[in-house]
């Protein structure tokens, strides 16, 4: 460091004074810290520790795996893909025309049977495939300021290309995300009785309270030539538009589900459920699939065997490793800290090279 040299030379007088004060000892004060002798624990990977660690991992992982696999198995899930089926056969060659046309009948009725008893609440999801809600262009295309308060209404600069209408009045909510709001609807009935789907409390409370303003009302929404998806009731504030709020929590992965609503009643096994689908949303342009999902829930969430299997595999593998290490230790032990293994003791002539 150049500072040292400078200090020592410009400091003619300083050096002089240091000379006169040589009697003051510069001996560094002893402390365990400065001598790097702080009390310390020195773990060493001994066979005992390693084997114990692996057994412990195995013991922890296998039960967790079993439990989550069991929980996942108990989840009842009905998945129904309808995007292909709901296009009338006439349009099967030209699905895009069907979905883009405003005159075609989009209603589509499906029946399915509940395979197992589903204890309420039964969650209704829609699942989209191949839909990149995490596309950079898409993720950025929103204005949190605008969503939060009326004052931020004009803050649409990040929303392009869906920022303002032709005459420069702001679109609320602006941006591609809101614009592409999912607009298929499902009506459930069982034994000709309407099954009530609750659309309340499907969004995060935190979003409703702090991210979407209660004084912000939709404005100029879906008014342009290109309609991306659902329209919003202009008299309901954004904080109450739970479908929008759910949709705007953009999914992490290109295959995702979004909560549509909750059926609060239990569904018994072999119940016949009829669902009337308004097949409005255009996934045909990009080959995306649409599915309707009814699912119960467990402590591990929805149906997903992966975690259980992963835990079982890892736990089992650790157990296997532990056994392997035990065998290895029995067959070929090495005394720890034996100086005979030091390289210069194994090869004494190597010292004087």
């Amino acid at each position: 460091m150049s500072s040292r040299g400078a200090a020592s030379s410009s400091g003619g007088p300083q050096l002089g004074t240091s000379e006169s004060s040589t009697r003051i000892s510069k001996k560094p004060k002893y402390s365990r810290f400065t001598q790097q002798e702080l009390p310390a624990c020195k773990p060493i990977l001994t066979p005992g520790w390693v084997i114990a660690t692996f057994i412990a991992v195995g013991i922890i992982f296998i039960p967790i795996g079993l439990a989550s696999l069991f929980a996942s198995q108990r989840v009842v899930e009905i998945v129904h893909r309808y995007d292909e089926e709901c296009v009338p056969p006439i349009f099967s060659g030209n699905q895009l025309a069907y979905i883009q046309s405003s005159i075609t009948n989009k209603t589509c009725t499906k029946n399915f049977t509940v395979p197992k008893r589903m204890k309420g609440p039964v969650y209704v999801y829609y699942q989209l495939d191949n839909f990149y809600q995490n596309h950079r262009r898409y993720v950025k295309s929103r204005s949190d300021k605008q969503l939060r308060s009326k004052a931020g209404e004009l803050d649409t600069s990040t929303c392009k290309p869906e920022a303002t209408t032709g005459n420069n009045s702001p679109i609320v909510p602006c941006g591609l995300i809101a614009w592409s709001l999912f607009n298929d609807t499902y009506g459930f009935s069982m034994k000709n009785k309407v099954l009530n789907v609750s659309k309340k409390n499907i969004a995060w409370k935190s979003d409703q309270e702090h991210k979407f303003g209660s004084d912000v009302y939709p404005k100029n929404f879906q008014s342009g030539g290109l309609i991306g998806g659902a329209k919003l009731n202009a008299s309901i504030p954004l904080s109450e538009q739970e479908d929008l709020i759910v949709w705007m929590r953009t999914a992490a992965l290109p295959t995702f589900r979004k909560l549509y609503g909750k059926i609060e009643t239990d569904l018994e096994a072999n119940d016949e459920i009829t669902v009337v689908i308004q097949n409005n949303y255009n996934t045909y342009s990009f080959g995306g699939r649409k599915r309707l999902v009814l699912s119960t829930t467990s402590w591990i969430g929805g149906k997903n065997d992966f975690l259980g299997i992963a835990y079982l595999t890892v736990g089992g593998f650790c157990m296997f490793l532990a056994i392997g290490f035990i065998l290895l230790y029995v067959i070929k032990p090495r005394p720890l800290g034996d100086p005979a293994f030091l390289s210069w003791n194994r090869n004494p002539s190597g010292i004087m090279n």
Binding site: S10, S25, T34, C41, K42, F61, D144, R249, L321, G337
Partner: protein
């Protein structure tokens, strides 16, 4: 030519010694040494060139033949060579100074004023200048470029503020440090500039601030005042124009140096008569031992040399006042020009690291290319549907393309954006971490009580902060002998007078201080010397017997034939005065103290006479002439006019040079006896000097006197003429005897050398000493041992190579170099004797050029500077000789034996820590990059980051930075005790065990595996679920941070509370930061962590990521440590389980002193 070589020594790293052609190197090196060294008999032993040793005739003729001595001959004569110095200063190279006319002096040339600024910045320039300096680092420019790229709207991956955060952080930390340092410099500058000196203004000396002094002004300095600038001496309080200066602030040598005013200016009193003159001197340069100028006064042209100039920073001592004219001021003074700070070297590890950084940048390019290629494929596949994709929608409301510039540009943008996203692949934080770690390591090295030297009250010094870790990889140690292996505290041990050996060792009498009474006051020498009782008796008997007369002459020679200045100082007892012998050579001091002990006390020295108290009787001897030591003659002589009116010449010098000028026909027996005594002495490792004398007849004296006068007033070629005169009078001498001085081995040197050798370090000793002396020191320091067979061909016995400077002249810089290296590398010990400073550097370069092994040079004197700068690591011993070596060194310490804790303990630790830290930093950042990369593959290659941008920026600032620094400073693989007990463990560094290409690739494989575990476990667990991007991002960042910190935790060897605090603290800090970030409603991920942390899946994923990520490393580490343990591992186990057994097979037999073994 002489100037060139001598300057080379001061230029940092001038590379290979330039002028070392076979033919001329002897002259070059010797003259260079002479420039560096002060005149002294000690140097005569050290001196390098011994062409045809012992053959003085050849030497003299050789010297005449054209070597150019630099040292002034007599009484401050000039140092020009045969060619005139006047010619060498051409007008355009000279600066002209009109004495006492600063206006005229400065009107044509703008000479620097005398105010000094060591501070780098002013208030205004600080910011731009400091930032500009910081951007000299390539890494910073890289990050700046990325930050700038990120500001372009098309490429804005991160928010504007976020993207410059890391760079701003690093820059501001460094800037704050620089600002503080500069503030301190400003303060010391202010003090310095406002000091007062007395300057001649309007024919009166008036006080003036230092900063206002201008070149050409006449300045008066009083005793004990510091010189404000470099001045040519005009007159002093001494009638002969002598001034004594202490140069401790300049080169650290605390003894007094004599400087001379020219006779022509001596009696001019500037107050009374105006001094008019013109000085023509060379341009400012940093050679503090050289000065070349001439002065025109009263129409006479005088030449000026280094003995006529007094330099800024020195103190005037022992002289009432001195008057001089300022020639160099301010930043042009030699002191300031020498103030270049510590040399900058780059550590081997860092050089190696740069290769890996290049590999990492190739990784980076590869990742970016993959992303761009995939993006291209994706775009081409969806080319026609882009506008229909709800998440793309190419066109805006009026149908124009929005933010779409065609496939080509889109791909380019993708590439650049991916560089921005993956930027931390090149770890910016590594640079600042390394700096901090080195500071921390330096702190501990400085604080190490084991490396504190009681004797000199000096701590270990880290002057260069770049190469701490190199200390752990040293393979060659090049050591100076005098002052490094030995104490350089000379002790008069034995003496041979007139063929009789008087050994003080026979008596066990405690040294009795000799003292004399003068005017009721007792004068004592400051140091007591062991005396031989028999000799003491003889010396007291004085001239009575023949023996007594020889003893008288001998001690008179010792007391008179030197350049020592006696200083009488008061003691606490008012009746006792202490006499302190100040001189440039410790040998001379020892000899004068010895003479005093035998009753020949030097009391006073002026340029004209000396006063010696001989057995209580004061005698005054006129000094008729003094031929100072030079490295060609390797002797000095003094011509004394004795009280009995006889004129005698006393000569002392190295045996090789003295035997040539001694009249061999006289006293053959005595000559032989002395020779054999000399042989004995040097076999004991003593430094010998031979003393001779001759009485001059009146005619001889007249002849000498006239030629001496002529020579010393000669303008051209004065030094050579003087040498000729000296050689003429120094002959046909009668031998008086020889003295032997012990240069004691420093404490612990043999043990230290043995430790170093067991550690696999080759120790080469490079010394200016004689071969016999060098060999015996070799034995006593256990460098050479009994079982080293000189030239034995049996391969298992270690072989030592002893080579002298004369041979090296022919070897260095020739094709023989390679052969010498081959030979030397087969030897376990190499001893080079009689080597010149530049040859030392040449030898270091010889090894450095041919191996990749690290070299270390250790020395204490100015003659070691070139070697210290040449070696990979230079260590200065802050001992008796000046500070030149320390100033040039990377590390400085008080004792040679500290090399053992420095290398074996601190070096080992530093290397291990730094190596691990670099690898860990690579890993840490690469894991993060790979996690980002995997995600990009699932976002249609559009470089969305699931991990919050704040988190990814804080990642290397807060989340993971502290533990690596703490571990880099504090972790220890082995305790000091073990490392010192088993020096072989040092081999880990020499074998690059902690950082090598294989480890790098292993780490990278591990990195990829860990990133896969972190990324894909949550991906699969959440595939097709309702997880949102922020929640998953939080999971990923937490998984990365925990995994990365646990990875470190597995590798930490010693857990003390700081380690615990750092590692667990970082994980907790990360949780806090993630929580805080998710509590900010304006960010996209608002409340995500709270929502997702409620689910069991989140925690299960986290646990699975960490465990799965760590398993392979854990398994491999265990298997490697258990089944293929390295030495360090075994020693660690032994340390822990305490069953280290003594292993006796490394004991090297050692014998104290044996007969010398010749090459």
């Amino acid at each position: 030519m002489t100037w060139d070589t001598s300057k080379n020594l001061f230029k940092s790293n001038s590379g290979r010694p330039s002028g070392m052609e076979t033919k001329n190197s002897a002259e070059n090196s010797s003259s260079a040494e002479a420039t560096l060294n002060s005149s002294s008999s000690r140097r005569s032993i050290l001196s390098s060139h011994s062409k045809a040793s012992g053959n003085s005739i050849r030497e003299v003729s050789f010297a005449d033949f054209g070597s150019k001595p630099v040292r002034h001959g007599s009484r401050g004569a000039d140092s020009e060579g045969l060619s005139t110095s006047q010619k060498e200063i051409s007008d355009e190279d000279a600066r002209l100074i009109y004495i006492n006319d600063p206006v005229k002096t400065n009107e044509k040339f703008e000479f620097a004023g005398n105010s000094v600024t060591t501070s780098k910045y002013s208030f205004i320039t600080f910011l731009p200048k400091n930032i500009f300096e910081q951007f000299h680092r390539v890494a910073y420019i890289y990050f700046l470029a990325i930050a700038i790229l990120n500001q372009l709207p098309q490429l804005a991956v991160f928010g504007r503020g976020v993207s410059i955060l890391p760079l701003a952080f690093v820059l501001s930390v460094t800037a704050i440090k620089a600002a503080y340092e500069d503030y301190r410099r400003h303060r010391s500058d202010r003090i310095e500039n406002n000091r007062i000196a007395s300057v001649l203004v309007n024919n009166q000396f008036q006080p003036k601030k230092w900063k206002d002094i201008r070149v050409g002004e006449i300045i008066k300095i009083h005793a004990s005042e510091t010189l404000p600038c470099d001045m040519v001496l005009l007159s002093t309080s001494d009638p002969t124009g002598v001034a004594y200066v202490q140069t401790v602030n300049l080169d650290g040598e605390s003894n007094l140096k004599t400087r001379f005013a020219k006779h022509e200016t001596l009696f001019k009193m500037p107050e009374k008569e105006k001094v008019i003159g013109l000085i023509k001197c060379e341009k400012p340069n940093r050679n503090i031992y050289g000065f070349q100028a001439n002065m025109e006064v009263n129409g006479r042209r005088l030449s000026l040399g280094p003995s006529n100039i007094i330099l800024r920073g020195c103190e005037l001592k022992n002289t009432e006042w001195g008057i001089g004219v300022a020639v160099y001021a301010g930043r042009e003074t030699k002191a300031m020009l020498n103030n270049s700070g510590a040399p900058s070297k780059r550590s081997r590890l860092e050089t190696h690291m740069n290769i890996e950084i290049i590999i990492l940048s190739l990784f980076l390019v590869a990742l970016c290319t993959v992303v761009s290629a995939c993006a291209l494929a994706w775009l081409l596949r969806h080319k026609n549907e882009l506008n229909y994709l709800p998440y793309y929608r190419k066109k805006d409301l009026v149908g124009k393309d929005y933010n779409y510039y065609g496939v080509g540009l889109e791909i380019l943008f993708t590439f650049l954006m991916s560089v921005i996203v993956f930027q931390i692949m090149i770890p910016i934080s590594l640079y600042i971490s390394m700096e901090l770690v080195r500071v921390g390591q330096a702190y501990f090295m400085i604080r190490d009580t084991e490396m504190y030297d009681e004797a000199s009250n000096s701590r270990f010094q880290c002057r260069s902060l770049n190469i701490n870790e190199d200390l752990g990889q040293i393979k060659y140690v090049f050591s100076d002998k005098t002052g490094t292996l030995t104490e350089n505290k000379m002790e008069f041990q034995r003496v041979s007078i007139w063929g009789v050996d008087y050994s003080g060792a026979k008596s066990q009498i405690e040294p009795v201080g000799y003292s004399v009474q003068v005017e009721g006051k007792v004068i004592k020498p400051k140091m007591n010397v062991k005396t031989d009782p028999e000799l003491l008796q003889l010396s007291e008997r004085r001239n009575d017997t023949k023996e007594g007369r020889h003893v008288y002459d001998f001690f008179l020679a010792l007391a008179a034939c030197n350049t020592i200045v006696p200083l009488v100082t008061d003691t606490s007892d008012p009746t006792v005065k202490m006499i302190d012998y100040q001189g440039e050579s410790p040998d001379e001091q020892a000899l004068v103290y010895a003479a005093a002990a035998y009753g020949f006390m030097l009391i006073e020295r002026t340029s004209g006479y000396i006063v010696i108290d001989i057995q209580g009787e004061r005698q005054r001897f006129n000094v008729l002439g003094l031929h100072e030591f030079d490295s060609d003659r390797k002797r000095m002589s003094v011509i004394l006019g004795c009280p009995d009116k006889s004129v005698k010449v006393f000569v002392k010098g190295a045996d090789s040079s003295m035997f040539g000028v001694i009249d061999k026909s006289l006293n053959k027996n005595i000559l032989h006896a002395t020779e054999s005594h000399l042989h004995d002495y040097s076999s004991l490792g003593l430094r010998t000097l031979v003393v001779g004398m001759r009485q001059l007849s009146a005619s001889e004296f007249e002849q000498w006197h006239s030629s001496f006068e002529e020579a010393s007033t000669a303008v051209i070629g004065r030094a050579a003429l003087l040498r000729k005169v000296a050689s003429a009078v120094e002959n046909n001498l009668c031998i008086l005897g020889a003295s032997a001085i012990e240069d004691k081995l420093q404490q612990g040197v043999p043990e230290a050398i043995e430790s170093l050798r067991i550690a696999g370090i080759k120790v080469w000793v490079l010394t200016g000493d004689k071969q016999e002396t060098a060999i015996s020191i070799g034995y006593s320091s256990r460098l050479l041992t009994n079982n080293i067979g000189g030239s034995s061909e049996a391969s298992p016995t270690p072989v030592a190579l002893i080579i002298d400077g004369t041979s090296l002249v022919y070897i260095l810089d020739s094709e023989l170099e390679e052969q010498l290296f081959q030979l030397a590398s087969k030897c376990s010990v190499v001893l080079c004797c009689r080597v010149a400073p530049l040859q030392k550097a040449g030898i270091v370069a010889l090894v450095k050029k041919r191996t990749a092994d690290m070299t270390l040079a250790i020395g204490d004197g100015a003659n070691d500077v070139s070697m210290i700068q040449m070696a990979d690591v230079g260590i200065g011993i802050s001992g008796q000789e000046g500070r030149q070596a320390v100033m040039a060194s990377d590390f400085a310490m008080g004792q040679f034996r500290f090399l053992v804790p420095l290398l074996l303990v601190h070096g080992h630790w530093n290397y291990q820590r730094m190596g691990y830290m670099i690898l860990y930093n690579f890993y840490r950042n690469a894991v993060m990059v790979f996690v980002l990369f995997w995600f990009v593959l699932f976002t249609a290659f559009t470089l969305t980051t699931a991990i919050n941008e704040w988190s990814s920026m804080l990642y290397s600032i807060i989340y993971t930075s502290v533990p690596t620094i703490v571990v880099g400073i504090l972790d220890k693989d082995l305790s000091r005790k073990t490392l010192l007990k088993y020096p072989q463990l040092y081999g880990a560094g020499q074998r690059h065990e902690c950082y090598n290409t294989k480890l790098f690739w292993l780490t990278m494989v591990d990195t990829i595996w860990q990133s896969v575990a972190i990324f894909f476990i949550p991906l699969l667990a959440y595939w097709g679920s309702s997880i949102d991007i922020s929640s998953l991002g939080d999971l990923w960042i937490l998984a990365v941070v925990i995994l990365v910190n646990l990875h470190l935790a597995i590798d930490v060897i010693r857990w003390n509370w700081t380690t615990h605090a750092a590692i667990w603290g970082s994980i907790i800090a990360t949780f806090i930061c993630v929580t805080v970030i998710d509590a900010l409603p304006f960010l996209i991920g608002y409340w995500a962590i709270f929502e997702v942390a409620k689910t069991a899946t989140f925690w299960l994923c986290l646990l699975a990521c960490v465990i799965v990520g760590l398993i392979p490393r854990f398994v491999v580490k265990y298997l490697y440590q258990y089944y293929s343990p390295c030495d360090v591992q075994i020693a660690r186990e032994a340390e822990k389980f305490g069953n280290l057994r003594e292993v006796g097979d490394v004991q090297i037999e050692m014998n104290a002193i044996l007969g010398p073994q010749r090459r």
